[in-house]
């Protein structure tokens, strides 16, 4: 399988890349790792006129903690994130980055590429939604920060303007008493998620749930935050009954389609089940980090 012809540029500076995007607005597509985009181009389902390769632009792959944030550069690969010492303290991100695709995909695929691609079954968006992450988009006129919950608009469609480049993901720095987890169901290792649930739980004083974030992937037009599940958890003391109620709420918000990964009722039930599993682990990890 051979992609249709396209132009290719590899600017050395972010400003140059942004300029090209402005000049070729709508024609251009950003190339990062390429493991999501190139298969679609080889199948000729995507035929961008111009690829702007970010390879030579330095400084977009740092993983740093600030007083408030954990900042991950868009070009950080899944593998570097997974193996990063700081990320070891972010179990949700550690879970997600270790389970995407296969080792070769994780060597080259980047967090920014995944998030901007916005496949409705990809893993990172669920984590970003659960964690209330913020997404930094750079345009020629400067930076703008978009909340993850305002970012994933539709299938393969995000809040990034065609003239912008996603440069960084910002998570909140992990406080004591917080834990996260990601559980996905895949037909076989390396498959896109049939369903995936990311959860973050912060335990408040007295052990009740102070904050709950739930992000769900694979079961709707785009990944979504299961706000009903979050509401069901808020203020409750962690228990399997509470988790089950949250799972049902998350399932209720999902809008899966029936396909070869399974029928609608199965996928809904899996959202409930995976929510429970992620919550159990998230709470366990929150307790271990108190």
């Amino acid at each position: 399988m051979i992609p249709a012809p396209f132009d290719y540029v590899r600017p050395g500076e972010l400003e140059d890349a942004l300029k090209i995007l402005s000049e070729r607005e709508g024609d251009a597509k950003i190339l990062s790792g390429g493991y999501s985009l190139l298969p679609l181009m080889k199948l000729r389902l995507a035929q961008p006129a111009l690829l702007v390769d970010l390879r030579d632009i330095t400084g977009l792959d740092a993983i740093v903690e600030t007083d408030d944030d954990l900042r991950i550069g868009a070009k950080a690969t899944h593998r570097r994130i997974h193996e990063n010492e700081t990320i070891a303290r972010y179990p949700l991100l550690h879970d997600v980055s270790g389970g995407i695709g296969d080792p070769q995909v994780r060597n080259w695929g980047t967090i920014g590429g995944s998030v901007a691609h916005a496949d409705p079954a990809s893993d990172w968006p669920a984590a970003l939604l659960a964690a209330n992450a913020r997404i930094v988009c750079r345009g020629q006129n400067g930076e703008r920060i978009v909340e993850a919950r305002d970012f994933f608009l539709d299938t393969f469609t995000t809040a990034i303007e065609p003239t912008e480049i996603l440069t960084e993901i910002r998570f909140w720095r992990r406080p004591r008493g917080q834990g996260g987890a990601y559980t996905k169901l895949e037909r076989r290792v390396g498959d896109f998620a049939t369903a995936g649930v990311a959860a973050i739980i912060r335990l408040g004083d007295g052990g009740s749930i102070g904050f709950a974030g739930i992000g769900v992937t694979g079961v709707s037009d785009s990944p979504f935050a299961a706000t009903d599940a979050e509401a069901a958890l808020a203020g409750q003391r962690p228990s399997d009954d509470v988790f089950r109620a949250a799972g049902e709420a998350a399932a209720g918000m999902s809008r899966p389609v029936s396909d070869i990964r399974g029928p609608v009722d199965y996928k809904r039930a899996m959202v409930a089940e995976l929510t429970v599993r992620s919550l159990r682990k998230a709470v366990e990890r929150a307790l271990a980090y108190s």
Binding site: I2, P39, L43, R188, G262
Partner: protein, 792 residues
Amino acid sequence: MTEILQTSPEIGGMGHSVKRKEDPRFIRGKGEYIDDLTLPGMLWLDIVRSPYAHATIKGIDASEALKIPGVAAVVTGKDLEGYKLHWMPTLAGDMQMVLPTDTVMYQSQEVAAVIATSRYAAADGVAAVLVDYEPLPVVVDPHKSLEKDAPVLRPDRGEDKKTNHIWHWESGDKAAADAALEASDVRVAEDIYIPRIHVASIETCGCIADWDPVRQQLTLHMTSQAPHAIRTVLALVAAGAGLPISEQNIRVKTHDIGGGFGGKVPVYPGYVLAVAASFLIGKPVKWIEDRSENLQADSFARDYHIHAEIGATREGRIQALKVKTIADHGYSDAAADPSKFPAGLFNVITGSYDFDKAFVEVDGVYTNKPPGGVAYRCSFRVTEAVHAIERMVDILAHDVGKDPAQLRLENFIKPDQFPYKTPTGWEYDSGDYGRALHKALDLIGYADLRKEQAEKRARGELMGIGISSFTEIVGAGPSHDFDILGLKMFDSCEIRVHPTGKVLARIGVQTQGQGHETTFAQIIAQELGFPVADIKIEYGDTDTAPYGLGTYASRSTPVAGAATAVAARKIRDKARKLAAHLLEASEEDLEWTPGEFHVKGSPDRKKTIQEIAFAAYTNHPAGMEAGLEAVDYYDPPNLTFPFGSYICVVDIDKGTGEVKVRRFVAVDDCGNIINPMIVDGQIHGGLTMGLAPALYEQITYDENGNNLTGTFMDYLLPTAVETPAWELEKTVTPSPHHPIGAKGVGESATVGAPPAIANAVVDALWHLGVRNIDIPITPPKVWAILHEKGIA
């Protein structure tokens, strides 16, 4: 079979785990697969395919494609019609389109070929050919295809065949089976669907057709498991089309093949298109299919809708079997079955059990799917048969409240019953089924597992143990019954011993990874005592190899392996004469030990096989022809019947319906073993190709005939993570009629594994009222059951 003498490790005859002679090139990346070849001036062929599963072609507009730089030609069905090349025969004697002139019959069917100077230009050309279609009603379900108002898919078959029914085939005694079933205390009936799957060898199919108009020579480099048969079919097609391509001027070369498993037996339209294009243009033309084309258009396997009924006494003594099956062949029967067996060897369905009465019938049906019906690493529909009988026996055991192992042991054909005549007409050569099952039960610790299962069930956990005690039927086949398009299914070997005692042997079969360069050398080493290192095995070039029907259905060892042993023995007979001459002794006084003849009672008076070889060219007796060569075309007296007992343990995740294979013990009996290392490798691979359809693989269509599993993103081959660490053991029951007592092993594991896994899953769920789950047993299927029973 004669006694197998022990050879030294240096000679490396039978029983030695000789490291493979073919590996040094593969591990260096120096294999020569079809896409690795580039010929001077070569053009590329790519194929325009139909988006519709059934449609009329109203027009093909190639004008835009022809404007693309590098595009040399676009060939359509109308073009081929001029040469009568638009249809071609299948190996099953049906007809298949090369390119359609008016109607497409399945999604992704070949519609036109683009020939260009590069693969990129060819692909661009394909995207630029505009085809105007008018959709027609699509028939996906073979049951609906048989209904009276279904559209007739193959009007080309003539006025008297206005139906989608292809053929009816039956075996056994219907009245007797009916009566025996009527008289049975217990009757168990079940519908079992064995879905369409695809062999998906990691190398796809392809070829380079190279027509030399000056020499009138066609060389076809291709991925074929049966190069000689392909050569003959090409010659017949060319003769029918009036083309000046005759068999002595056709050379088929296979080079290295990246896996076959049955998928590289048929003739695909792509091969014929490349030949036609090379013939028209006078340059070499390469066609390499991509993975989607491979999964969507190449021959499928299975797709059997089985209804089986078994009758038994109250105690579980099996009495009668009746099976009715619909075989979905897509739009053409392009199976690679022997001519007399349109449903393959499906009537081996009585399996390892001593049935009194049995009756099997199969009806072939057309649908709007790709043609085929090839094996998926199995001998002509044996997997379907084994799955059905092993599932039925398991259900019966559970129904009569007997342990499935015990019920099997009580119903096995006993060792003293061999050779055993089945009620559907086969004669099993040898077997000891109880020994294999006992060994498997011991190895896995069956009694303890049953205890563990009971404890877990009490706690609400789901664990299952499944058994499969299969009998394979391989080595097609004896010429009185077995032919493909009239070509009898013998196979061949030609051995030449050079003066310095080095050997070149050519065989009529072909390797796609089985290690023939090593194992066939071991057979010769065994018979003649030349070290394996001194023996070179060649195959896959029809100009040099003796005629053979090729490698599939585990026939290499049973048929060509036998030919090799017999050819070697012809050489040994002549060597004995030479040795007698050299030692000045009578032939009767000579004794053979591997590698030498010596005079009985005087071990020092000897001649090595190397000395004898030299003498064959330098010092042969007067009246004897020079040289030391032999050829054998072996017509097997019977098929061989490998068998085994497999036991699988599964755990089921109640929350998600996921099935995990915790342990899998495989006890195989393939008769005498040539190379234990290679046999184990074949079983490992076969088991993984049994796991695949049991839990993961299925070619799926939507109601419009769109293939929903056209890439490896959705057609799920198991990875190293899903594949368990297989545990292997053997018993050895030689084949009494095979020259070296071997039976063949390439496919046993793929045949035997799926029912063991399915039986384990059903065993885990039996207490909930579950009797059967069709493979692949996917999490949604299991979850739906658990959900319905209130467990999930």
